[in-house]
Symmetry: C2
């Protein structure tokens, strides 16, 4: 992959980078200038706490309550439940260290976020793939898997369902509120035989990047859900990826345990970044910036799907994305897409790079990994490069077909 990326003239539709020209340079400069001119300038350059800046925790809780249509005084939205991390990725990592033991099992969307699969693997966690439908998690598949685990006596090792619930990486799928609520109920009904809580890890990293349709509430908003839902999200993607500030809402005792681990990692998220972000989120500039970003990604996504129609053979299928950074592309089943496939080599020869779909499926010996899909990102490439990249990819596909 690395080698491929160094090829001159290559158009990468693989990386999950964000749009470069819309990064908020002027906004950041103004905020930092004010921050460092203020009377308390020094304190912003000093260590913070391990949990994170109080103001940022509070603003984050308030904002989530508002997005979920709940009062900030509702259960689950207390600022004291928030842990600030270096991106939500770090929260997922720390949570995994905290919640799982080697040999434990996690339920994972089929397909799911491949870096999370790598975290699981490095901690000796087994995955069980759950099928997906256009409106999210396939509840029948969830039930079947849970039943199988119960019958085989493996339920005692099951700790959580990991769900990229909004505009999923890699599929772009959003799981509906009704399905999330049902999934939570189903998980709960297996807690007795499991002998411990089964958590829903709701990774909402792409929630703010919706550019079509309407937002839906998080799983935290459901009745009595706060004790079982871990909600994670980030300011990296909606504001600035170079600043790496994310967060999670955690129930105790997970919060306490995760905070202890976070202290061992690096005491806490860089305080300077948190001070910047707390001013960003408190100001009007944040909402404006996210609005601008949504328009930008909408036009990039449109450019990509328009190019699909122009350059891809009819047999190639996809769903138009409503947000996020990705489109998931299905080829006829006989066309392999993995890194050793003819298509991957052909694409490289045409100087275009995609993420092979098989990388996004967890190791689950109870099913075969599909190998005829790809993840394409419209995040960082320019519209011109998106159009040219899809043109090249179309030619590569036609050649292989």
């Amino acid at each position: 992959m690395r080698e491929a990326l160094e090829q001159p003239g290559l158009i990468s539709l693989a990386a999950g980078f964000t749009d470069n020209p819309s990064l908020p340079v002027a906004e950041s400069r103004a905020i930092i200038d004010a921050l460092l001119r203020g009377r308390k300038g020094q304190s912003h350059l000093q260590y913070g706490t391990t949990y994170g800046d109080e103001r940022l925790r509070s603003l984050t809780a308030q904002r989530l309550a508002q997005m979920d249509g709940r009062s900030k005084r509702d259960k689950g939205y207390e600022p004291s439940r928030v842990l600030i991390t270096h991106g939500s990725q770090q929260l997922l990592y720390i949570l995994t260290e905290t919640l799982f033991n080697p040999g434990d099992i996690a339920l994972i969307e089929d397909p799911s976020y491949f870096v999370y699969l790598s975290i699981m693997q490095s901690h000796g966690i087994e995955g069980r793939g759950i099928g997906m439908e256009p409106d999210g998690l396939d509840l029948a598949s969830l039930e079947t898997t849970l039943k199988t685990l119960k019958q085989s006596g493996e339920l005692v090792r099951l700790k959580a369902l990991y769900l990229v619930s909004y505009h999923s990486n890699p599929t772009g799928i959003t799981t509906s509120a009704a399905k999330k609520e049902m999934a939570l109920k189903i998980l709960r009904s297996y807690e007795k035989p499991a002998g411990h809580p089964i958590y829903l890890i709701e990774d909402a990293a792409y929630r703010e990047l919706r550019f079509a349709g309407t937002d839906i509430p998080s799983a935290l908003s459901f009745h009595n859900a706060a004790a079982r839902v871990i909600y994670t999200s980030t300011y990296s993607k909606p504001f600035a990826t170079g600043m790496r500030v994310g967060y999670g809402f955690l129930p105790d005792p997970l919060l306490t345990a995760a905070t202890r681990v976070k202290g061992n990692h690096e005491f806490g998220t860089a305080n300077f970044l948190q001070q910047i972000l707390s001013r960003v989120v408190a100001g009007e500039g944040y909402e404006e910036h996210v609005q601008k970003l949504r328009k930008r990604y909408a036009s990039k996504a449109r450019a990509m799907t328009r190019a699909f129609k122009k350059h891809f053979p009819d047999k190639v299928k996809w769903e138009d994305p409503e947000g996020g950074l990705y489109v998931w592309v299905n080829l006829p089943k006989r066309v392999k897409t993995d890194m050793k496939s003819k298509l991957f080599a052909e694409a490289l020869k045409h100087k275009v790079l995609y993420v092979p779909g098989n990388l996004c499926y967890c190791d689950d010996s109870t099913r075969l990994k599909p190998n005829h899909q790809m993840r394409l990102s419209f995040g960082s490439a320019s519209i011109k490069d998106i159009e040219e990249g899809i043109n090249r990819l179309g030619r590569a596909i036609k050649k292989v077909l």
Copy 2:
């Protein structure tokens, strides 16, 4: 501890925070302003790579070679060996994940950095305490411990010696170059029976904070040492703790493995912070700032030891620090200092907080943990508070004596 810290009027000489008034507000503002006005402003707010910014890695390697009196082309100082992390703490964490398995053994200074002890504990690593002398590691104690491990067949589990080599946290001791070189030789001589490399982890976090005596070269500078030395340090303490940028020099295959783990943590250190730091380190302002800081800590350290002489009974002993943030104080052996001790309670009653010495000793069943020492920090308290704090602590000690 947390409760104690919230007591109004308390003077904490416990925390390892740095001096607040000397944090480089104006310098940071100027650098960031230039950074975000430049043509490539956006790129500084975008993701970086997992290894870290090329320029910062290169400057870091150059600077270390210079401090060690070596050429930047010498083996061990290649920028490609540098991994940038969120503080050197994170490097220690990732290294521990990478190098050790549960049940492994690490050799640890007696006493050592208590957060590292906590990292070890959370990864199931056993410690063996090595005695200390005024010029560092007690080599006879190192030999004895290694012999014992060999005889008991435990050498196969020994992976590394962890050494806070400059102005140690908590003792302020610097291990001499001769001793570091000998320690490395001794470790090497046990590799054959161990059946694998035994690394020297040189934590040089306080190296730049020397305010008396002369700097000594790192263990990396010794002949053929680069394959066995992991050198870690930080820009947090000499520049700004709120920015959390540290680094390590690692031999392969540790570097490759650690970088993979770092990718799983959060892809890489916040690029924006790295861009700031690379400009800081490239400029003349950095050296000036560190000089200023050294003077500042020298005067704080002097204020503290002067206050010792004025307020402590003769039986209380310490070594005047030559750098870092800490003084290690020895009380008569019968005076316990742990958190349940009379002295700790009495100190709190007098509204002053210290770190009990016993917390700085690893769990090692082959020796008893000393319990008559304390770590005092002159880092963050003002000179006035240092004087008043030691006055209070003196009264508490006298009361218990």
